[in-house]
């Protein structure tokens, strides 16, 4: 085995771990919200067991040791030797979190928090000791990496000492009456096996008596099941874990050709509708030694097979492909512009083919973007842990509800959402939800609820964090803002304006800085991070009902919908999301404040005016604003300004090229793009420009007389 192969398998193992941890967390969510069934704990157990098995193959002994103790207690619960109490469930979730830490540490060749490990192991051990009987897991001995077989991974190329793998398992099943009285059913058990591979079921019905002698509570049928799978024996046996004490289950390796060797059952109606008595007798005789095989039908409710139709691709390759497709789109635009210059007749084939090319390029771009799109679910699952930890620290019981977690978003956006979302859910637990006793007093359940939802709307993804707490105490917020000198006591403010104070730098609504949220990171930083992603953050709240923070994000950071404008002979792009409206200069109300500060009066609001051309050194400051066009910009932080441009060219999607990577960072510019004519156009950063312009105080500044009326053009 080469090192490269080893690395590949290791990487593959950790990717499997991510999926298994996700399945585990899903199981916990079901168990918490009460929607779990008998299979749920089984899924969780299997996930932990599989991680243990794979970790053993790579000598990750910390991981193996912890997973072993964890699965032992999981096994006690699934075998009903321990009750599934809220306390145990919380411990399971904490163990799940720590297992996630261990996997992350193993991936980075680091180490996890040993003190935490010891505390959790101690509690697991205590639970094991209080369980009502011996573990069904025969490997209750001390954790030993060699005990475990890697699961779900094809380790065929690894030079690990192992026997030639069997082609499957032959399972014999004989049931006791208790199996049925305890609510179990062979049919369900056998169907559960089909997730491991192809099954053939043989029923031995020789001992079934005539009806007159039949005790309907005794099952006289025995079964042999041929299971074709690479799944390890203990995992297969896990499917029978609930019935091991009320059935005889034997499992032997299946090697080479099938051992039952039966033709598949065709579950179709027989052709002979009415059998004569002698035929019936014949059938009975024939039935005495009949052996049947049957493909087990997969019920809809069972989870899908472990193997999914996916391939793993290096992220860099996808990035490169996205860049190339961006180039393709640019080339297509250049070609279109070149053809346009030729001035071909409208019905010319070249124009028609060019349209086809444009559509194709657009579809390719959309398809490639979809490759990088990932479901938001793992991010939400990470928040489950944050909420749990925050709940523990604040003494609040919090239930997490997830909605729309299958919505997809660009991987790069997703990664950069972790910190802001973490902060916001911590904030919701700490400041949003009331203490349990206050909730009860207010007539609410002691358990608080935080809902994370995601949905696609108008080409953006909307993420909402909703709590059912007391809502924003606006009187308190206003009072704090006044105390901090952020607002004047005599300024009238709407509810929305007061809510917006929460996002001001240095604002904290907590009476005291708490251990949890008071970490020097305010909602202003969260808003900056969201804004840097091209997103918008807003809040709505109803007293006594709760608060909702809403994040609106672009689906990708690779393309942008922009207004292409001309400024002093240069072409620039202004993000369309920040443009509120356009005005024509000749119809605008312009004022001069002081010596050279110019403002635009729009509906009783003064907006500072900035000449993009002068700002970036394309020309001197324009004093003659006749025939100029104003773009009214409003940023997510509610800063506004009016940008002077010479002409509007087009509204279109542009491919974003990083300036920092290819040149250097420029204040007021977020990125660049390449236009159809091959020229580079700078993409304006409205937030930076609006922040950089001094907003005059309308009360203190003398205002010159208005010039003309205002004509608004909505876009």
């Amino acid at each position: 085995m080469t090192f490269a192969a080893s690395d590949d398998f290791r990487a593959s193992f950790f990717e499997e771990c991510d999926e298994l941890l996700e399945a585990m967390q899903d199981g916990f969510v079901c168990m918490v919200d009460g929607s779990s069934d008998a299979e749920t704990i089984h899924v969780v157990f299997r996930a932990v067991h599989s991680i243990k098995g794979g970790a053993g193959a790579f000598g990750l002994n910390d991981l193996v040791g912890f997973a072993h103790e964890f699965e032992t207690v999981l096994d006690h619960v699934r075998a009903d030797r321990l009750p599934s109490t809220d306390e145990i469930l919380l411990l399971f979730q904490q163990c799940g979190d720590y297992l996630t830490d261990l996997v992350a540490a193993a991936r980075e060749n680091g180490s996890a928090d040993r003190a935490r490990s010891e505390a959790l192991l101690k509690r697991l051990d205590e639970l094991s000791r209080t369980s009502r009987g011996p573990s069904a897991d025969a490997s209750r001995a001390a954790p030993d990496a060699e005990d475990f077989q890697p699961l779900a991974l094809d380790l065929g190329d690894l030079d690990l000492p192992q026997d030639p793998p069997p082609s499957g398992w032959l399972i014999s099943v004989k049931t006791d009456p208790e199996l049925f009285t305890s609510g179990n059913e062979p049919l369900i058990l056998f169907r559960a096996l089909s997730r491991f591979g192809e099954t053939k079921v043989l029923a031995r019905t020789d001992d079934v008596p005539l009806l007159s002698a039949c005790d309907p509570t005794l099952c006289n049928i025995t079964w042999q099941i041929e299971l074709h799978t690479e799944t390890a024996e203990d995992v297969v046996l896990d499917a029978f874990d609930f019935v091991l004490d009320c059935a005889e289950i034997t499992i032997t390796p299946l090697r080479g050709s099938p051992e039952i060797g039966l033709t598949p059952l065709i579950a179709e109606p027989l052709s002979n509708p009415a059998m004569a008595e002698d035929e019936v007798a014949h059938v009975i005789e024939a039935n005495q030694a009949r052996s049947i095989s049957a493909p087990v039908d997969k019920p809809v409710s069972l989870p899908p097979p472990a193997t999914s139709q996916t391939i793993r691709v290096d992220f860099e390759r996808v990035d490169k492909l996205i860049n190339l497709v961006g180039e393709l789109v640019i080339k297509e635009a250049m070609l279109a512009q070149a053809v346009e210059a030729i001035d071909l007749p409208r019905a010319n084939d070249v124009l028609q083919e060019l349209d086809g090319l444009k559509q194709l390029a657009g579809e390719i771009q959309e398809g490639v973007m979809a490759i990088r799109a990932q479901p938001i679910k793992p991010l939400f699952q990470r928040m489950a842990r944050t909420i749990r930890d925050a709940g523990t620290l604040t003494g609040k019981t919090v239930r997490l509800v997830m909605k729309g977690e299958s919505a997809e978003i660009d991987k790069t956006v997703l990664e950069r959402l972790v910190d802001p979302l973490n902060h916001m859910v911590r904030n919701s637990v700490d400041h949003g939800l009331e203490a349990p006793e206050l909730r009860v007093t207010a007539g609410k359940a002691a358990e608080g609820s935080i809902t994370l939802s995601a949905a696609h709307r108008s080409g953006r993804v909307i993420i909402e964090i909703t709590d059912d707490g007391a809502g924003i105490d606006r009187n308190r917020v206003r009072q704090l803002a006044e105390e901090k000198g952020m607002i004047s006591p005599d300024v009238a403010m709407t509810d929305a304006e007061i809510d917006a104070l929460l996002f001001m730098p240095g604002f904290s609504s907590a009476n005291e800085v708490s251990e949890l949220s008071g970490r020097g990171v305010g909602l202003d930083v969260v808003r900056s991070e969201i804004t840097a992603l091209g997103g918008r953050l807003s809040v709505s709240s109803e007293k006594g009902q709760g608060t909702t923070f809403s994040i609106s994000l672009p689906l990708t950071l690779a393309v942008l919908e922009g207004m292409v404008v001309e400024v002093a002979g240069q072409t620039m792009v202004v993000p369309i999301t920040s443009i509120r409206e356009t005005l024509h200069a000749s119809a605008a109300e312009l004022h001069t404040i002081g010596a050279d500060i110019r403002v635009l009066s729009v509906r009783d609001t003064l907006m500072p005016v900035a000449d993009l051309g002068a700002m970036f050194g394309f020309r001197d400051e324009q004093m003659d604003l006749e025939d100029r066009i104003f773009l009214l910009i409003e940023t997510d932080t509610e800063k506004s300004c009016a940008l002077i441009v010479d002409a509007l060219q087009d509204q279109r999607q542009v491919v974003i090229k990083s300036l920092e990577t290819n040149y250097c960072q420029i204040d007021g510019i977020s990125a660049a793009t390449i236009l159809g004519d091959g020229r580079i156009a700078l993409i304006v950063d409205p937030e930076a420009i609006a922040s950089g312009i001094a907003v005059p105080n309308p009360v203190a500044m003398p205002i010159s007389a208005p010039t003309e009326g205002v004509a608004h053009v909505a876009i």
Binding site: F180, E185, P186, L187, L211, A213, L270, N287, D297
Partner: protein, 96 residues
């Protein structure tokens, strides 16, 4: 020809009644309609095997003339051959 309709859900709890019902119908040809059956477990199918054999010994015909997908899938899932329980299609129809 006597006929009998199987209940929708034949689990362990329903098997005793099924047995008694069918015992009361001995001594005559019997067509069974399993078209409405959404679930039948191992014990239920065992009763039908026992019935099929009983009817054969008694010298009468026993057929399951109509059956749902769920019924036939349960039989195949438990490795029971259709001929062991007289599954046929006298009317040529199979209930969905």
């Amino acid at each position: 020809m006597q006929s009998y309709s199987l209940k929708e859900h034949i689990d362990t709890a329903a098997v005793q009644t099924l047995t008694e019902d069918l015992l009361s119908l001995r001594g005559q040809d019997l067509d069974v309609d399993a078209g409405e059956t959404t679930f039948i477990g191992a014990l239920g199918l065992q009763v039908l095997i026992a019935v099929f054999r009983q009817w054969g010994v008694d010298g009468f015909a026993f057929r399951i003339t109509v059956f749902s997908d769920a019924f036939s899938q349960a039989a195949s899932g438990l490795g029971i051959d259709p001929s062991e329980i007289g599954m046929t299609a006298a009317s040529g129809e199979v209930a969905a």
